[in-house]
Amino acid sequence: MPPAIRTQGLTRLYRKAPRRGVPAQEFRAVDGVDLEIQPGELFGLLGPNGAGKTTLIKILCTLLFPTSGTAEVCGLDVVKDCERVRERINMVSGGEPSGYGLLTIREQLWVFSQLYGLSTAEAMSRIDRMLDQYGLAKDAGTKINRLSTGMRQKMNLIRGFMTAPSVLFLDEPTLGLDAHIARQTRDFIRAWMAEDRTRALLLTTHYLAEAHELCDRVAIIHQGRIRACDTPENLVAAHRGDAVFEITLSGLDGQSEALRRDPDMKVSRLDADPAAGHTTVRFSLADDAALPGALSRMAALGGRIVNLSKHEVTLEDVFVKIAGQTIADAEKSSE
């Protein structure tokens, strides 16, 4: 069986034509990506907005041509064999506003099932089973224009699941969902994968905990390039030697941002609470021996320790170590 997904040197450039004295601009959205995902794998593509995740998915879904490199889905080239690739895939995006407001959930799903050659009887049987499974059965007759974000996303997931694709792409499936619906969504995803171990699922997310919880393997993508690729456990284990601390300081008086510029500290979270006069910082150091130096620099800024604790390394810390900034900071700098 060929890999579910294989890319080699996959690159996508966006060019902006020159205009009124502004020279032509080129943006490398995906830059030499090599990936191999096996059938049965739930693979996470982890990175901030603008990292190239959606561009990569659009290439794999035959919606965009790569500028160079190759991409295969189920052993089929996404450019040359796009018709056959389409028979094997489906894609759902988070926050997707698709559908027709005057149709009901059940009608809408039937319409989309007809694009994949399902007979009406087969389609309705799958739709009803999944509506029931995902707690939407009682809302089957609700019109799309009356759905909450969570209900709409459940419907979208059923749209992707019901055609039983060999490879399913989920682009930020929990974007904008509250914690309860996001958890249900993750449960749906796991249940769908467990039904058939030949399926593959490529999920993009910028929620690190979600990737850790769901994925068999994750790739960290930043500025269009894959920076690391392994199981979440191995990625974390590779950085286990790092010393991760969380410290709460008082007395920084607006100097908290200076901590981000500390040469030894990789800050993965910085929450300033001006009302309480406290700043909480999560950071990693090369080893424990670097802690006294870091603490003395904090003291030099006027910081007084309220609380200090040592933590296990998480994917968030790994991302900061690899990308040199937090996901939130990477998103700010790409805007």
């Binding site: 035959t62 698709s98 559908g99 027709y100 149709l103 694009l115 050659g117």
Partner: protein
């Protein structure tokens, strides 16, 4: 065979959306029947006030009937890819294992409900209110010509739809630009021959121009036709075939170009 069946399923589903939506929001009945009927009646009254021969009133009625199909092609099919993109549905259609033509066919067929009702209302208005007389022996031929004209017209609409894959909102502006001149060149409200031979020959590339002209000659027994009916029918058949293949070609070319330039699923353009 299975591919054909899948494409027909997709077309049926896309048509079904139109029919269901129309039944659930009935306000269109007023806008698609009463208002166009008023416009058509206005033209008839102008001819009547000028003392034009009664057959000119019949021209206007037939023109009004056919206008509905042209507007359905323009806004119900050609521009529809733009709206689908805007609604977030285009990705879903474009990555589905079906022909883009089946989606466009579904849009066209689904839009026929509203179009047919609009046409019938104008026809009834013409017969009941303005006493339009039809040449009964020519009606079967007229219906055949109508089908040929529709095949060519919807092929043209599919070609126009391909522009929306690439240009989005920009293509919409071009369709708006095309709308009014077509009213002139197609002779919706006057005989095509009155444009003069050169202009009429150029206008013949637009299927409705010859379609309306041939239908007038057969259904109204008009003597003001531009070309003999068999010639017009042959040209319409040629246009139908040519537009079908051109549409297929252009849909493929424009989709590939849009995928290369990254515009296929880019919203708000």
């Amino acid at each position: 065979m299975s591919s054909l069946a899948n494409n027909l399923r997709a077309a049926r589903a896309r048509a079904w959306i139109r029919v269901v939506a129309a039944n659930r929001e009935l306000s269109w009945v007023f806008f698609e029947t009463f208002l166009p009927a008023m416009t058509t009646a206005g033209y008839v009254l102008v001819y009547r006030a000028l003392g034009a021969p009664p057959e000119f009133e019949s021209y206007v009625i037939l023109g009004g009937v056919m206008t509905a199909f042209w507007l359905n092609v323009l806004w119900g099919m050609a521009a529809q890819f733009f709206w689908e993109k805007d609604m977030g549905n285009l990705d879903i259609y474009m990555m589905a294992p079906i022909s883009r033509m089946s989606i466009l066919l579904g849009m066209a067929v689904g839009g026929m409900l509203g179009t047919a009702i609009r046409s019938v209302v104008i026809l009834v208005l013409g017969i009941v209110l303005f006493r339009v007389q039809f040449h009964l022996p020519g009606l079967a031929t007229a219906f055949g010509i109508f089908l040929l004209a529709m095949a060519a017209l919807y092929g043209l609409g599919m070609m126009l739809a391909s522009l929306f894959l690439l240009f989005g909102r920009g293509a919409q502006r071009w369709v708006e630009v095309a709308q009014e001149p077509v009213y002139l060149l197609s002779g919706f409200n006057f005989p095509l021959a009155s444009l003069g031979r050169t202009a009429a020959a150029l206008a013949s590339a637009f299927p409705l121009a010859l379609g309306i002209d041939a239908i007038r000659q057969t259904a109204l027994d008009s003597r003001t036709g531009f070309l003999p009916v068999p010639v017009e029918a042959a040209i319409l058949a040629g246009l139908a075939v040519a537009f079908f293949f051109l549409a297929r070609f252009m849909l493929r070319v424009m989709e590939n170009r849009a995928k290369r330039e990254g515009r296929l699923t880019l919203k708000w353009q």
